[in-house]
Symmetry: C2
Subunit: 400 residues, 2 copies
């Protein structure tokens, strides 16, 4: 058994980001930028008004009457020059006319025909948004290795980008094995169960930005499994999922050997998820997950989500954790790093309260589905009182 942190390092170290592809901005949300994007346009594009009012030359006294000589609207700027004693009607976001250096807001002006009486002394530059004050030409507006969010779409459009170079979605093949498994809707064999892991992991891979290839399930037959493994030439990663018994994992280890994969490790000091395997054949890695859906989910969060991040080109592969308070006391932990399924509620001091389910049996799929968080417990952690501080993974933060 190796520590799960060592296991993660050994899984991530040899992984490389996928090649890039070009996408129109309309398709780029959620994808990872493959290079720094520099602004081709500045914002504001020129000096513009921050308010509705009148473009003026500052410095006159309250009570001064100005002559209205034109209008600057969005898309219809004023083309003349503002001179002392003159003003131009202007609207938020419209271009500041040449000569003007301040905005007299309409709330502080009285207009009658072409006469505008100022009720204040405008300061130099007031309510003017300076050209480029948001971003200037060549400013890096998005960094390589970051995920493009909804707001970045606005920023990239405003800075003149139409196309974005992104990393191709990592392609992960999911291979479930076990004589006992039936795909959802297919007839169940005697003593059999539904193949929940295949659909769950495919959904997890998609939620984490990957492309899932659900392979036809294999029986507990190393030759059949090896044949399927050999056929995965275009996957960036394989996840195999064993049956519920130790025997099934032996089949996968044998199959990996037959298919030319070299074993790295196959047991980690973690709960649930002890029988995690890692094997490689050239650039292709195979992660072997336990067949228990709860253990499979936890391995998915701890190892597969970071692996997808690395393959997908994200610079930050760490899973975000948060501080919480325990909603119940916990006994001392054994040597395995633990992930307790828990609910979250708002605490009185603004810190969330994480209450572990009394039953942590990893066969409880419903409790897994109803959990809000995983409480993280170090190996050999001492007993902890209710109310004490703990670390958690908030499952919704991963879109899971």
């Amino acid at each position: 058994m190796i520590p799960h942190t060592d296991a993660l390092e050994r899984i991530l170290a040899p992984l490389n980001a996928t090649p890039t592809e070009l996408l129109p901005l309309t398709e780029a949300a959620g994808r990872v930028a493959a290079h720094d994007l520099k602004a081709r346009l500045q914002n504001p594009p020129a000096d513009v008004s921050a308010m509705d009012g009148y473009a003026v030359i500052s410095g006159f006294s309250p009570g001064t009457t100005l002559t209205l000589v034109g209008e600057s609207r969005a898309g219809a700027p004023f083309h003349g020059q503002v001179t002392p004693g003159h003003c131009v009607r202007i609207f938020t976001g419209s271009l500041l006319p040449a000569g003007a250096d301040a905005i007299l807001i309409q709330e502080n002006a009285d207009q009658t025909g072409l006469s505008v009486v100022a009720r204040e002394r405008p300061r130099l530059g007031q309510f003017v948004r300076r050209a480029g004050q948001d971003f200037g030409h060549d400013d890096v507006v998005l960094h390589a290795g970051t995920r493009i969010g909804v707001r970045d779409i606005a920023l990239l459009a405003a800075s003149g980008h139409v196309w974005v170079r992104v990393h191709r979605k990592p392609r992960v093949a999911v291979l479930t094995t076990g004589d006992e498994l039936a795909m959802s809707g297919d007839p169940l064999p005697p003593g059999g169960i539904v193949n929940t892991n295949g659909l769950m992991l495919a959904a997890l891979i998609r939620a984490a930005g990957g492309e899932a290839v659900l392979l036809p399930p294999c029986p507990d037959d190393p030759e059949a499994i090896a044949d399927t493994l050999r056929a995965q030439g275009t996957a960036d990663l394989i996840v195999s999922v064993g049956g519920a018994s130790v025997g099934a994992h032996d089949h996968i280890r044998a199959a990996l050997g037959l298919a030319g994969f070299e074993s790295d490790f196959w047991k980690i000091a973690m709960r649930p998820g002890k029988p995690l395997m890692h094997a490689r054949r050239g650039p292709l890695a195979c992660l072997g997950f336990p067949g228990n859906p709860v253990a499979s989910l936890v391995c998915g969060i701890v190892f597969l989500v970071p692996a997808l991040a690395r393959l997908g080109g994200l610079h930050d592969t760490a899973i975000a954790t948060e501080t919480a308070r325990l909603g119940a006391s916990l006994p001392a932990n054994d040597l395995r790093f633990d992930h307790l399924r828990a609910t979250l509620t708002a605490g009185p001091d603004g810190v969330s309260v994480a209450t572990p389910f009394p039953k942590q049996d990893s066969g409880m799929i419903r409790l897994m589905a109803n959990a809000d968080a995983l409480i993280l417990r170090d190996g050999h952690a001492p007993a902890a009182e209710a109310g004490s501080v703990c670390r958690i993974i908030r499952l919704s933060s991963l879109g899971l």
Copy 2:
């Protein structure tokens, strides 16, 4: 001006959930269940072992030698009956054979050929997962009006569901208007700007579970806008986005009138986002957003995301808020409810620190893109010291 909470109620009240459609479970992640889903299978399907070991009849003394009479593997149960003095090799998740009532774990047994010597006295029921202890037949495993997550896919598969009735994705038409706008990549008119709102709102709608229809932008011409509004027969909602000037909004109000929409309100006590409009024609609502991208985003979060939730069939339409501490002092607020763009950092006591950007100008698209949160400030809120408690919307919690 009406309070933004009243505005939200008036927008949501007349909205109905979209009709349902049937999806295979593989396509259901992220969708909203349209009816309660009851388990058709129970989990575990029968009494199964929670460990690798031997199925036994409890009650014998440590040192007892049992005779191995068979094996129960996943997918290959033992079909005989366990009798006193006998045992059956068993693996995690495999069916407990008839007669057996406990598991002797392999760590507490010594096997030599068909002889198994017990080193403990197994308790009745130990390491047995009872049939249905996770969920039983007809238990509701997923409630109508909840979003189907990755883990629910596992739960639905395990409980025997192959198809799911979900609400159709709400279809939102996005109509941007303004003579100054050019679509990303198109030539800019003089004094023009890129149409950032169209792409941003389309991405926001998709991130919130809707289907976005990006309409061709309209010039500042009420007749042209009205023609486009009249053509939106299949949309569940229209969002129009004004130009940067007040003039543009007048065009939209005129166009809404021409197209037979009845105005509900058109100014709210909120910043940014004061010139929010709401108009309806029969079952179809139109939300009129300000043209400023920052105001447009905030209106998207405060009104459009809840509207999509209601249209999409979610029972809970509220935007989640969190407690944080201010990272900087704030002056007293005026009458408008405020949404300050802010960064979040981890605080020493487990409460996040929300630090507002010094510049809250709603023209700052880059600051909007770089914000982690919106700090919520009530109208007329008194000045607040750094370190005091505040409410925030964490933008990543909305996938934005």
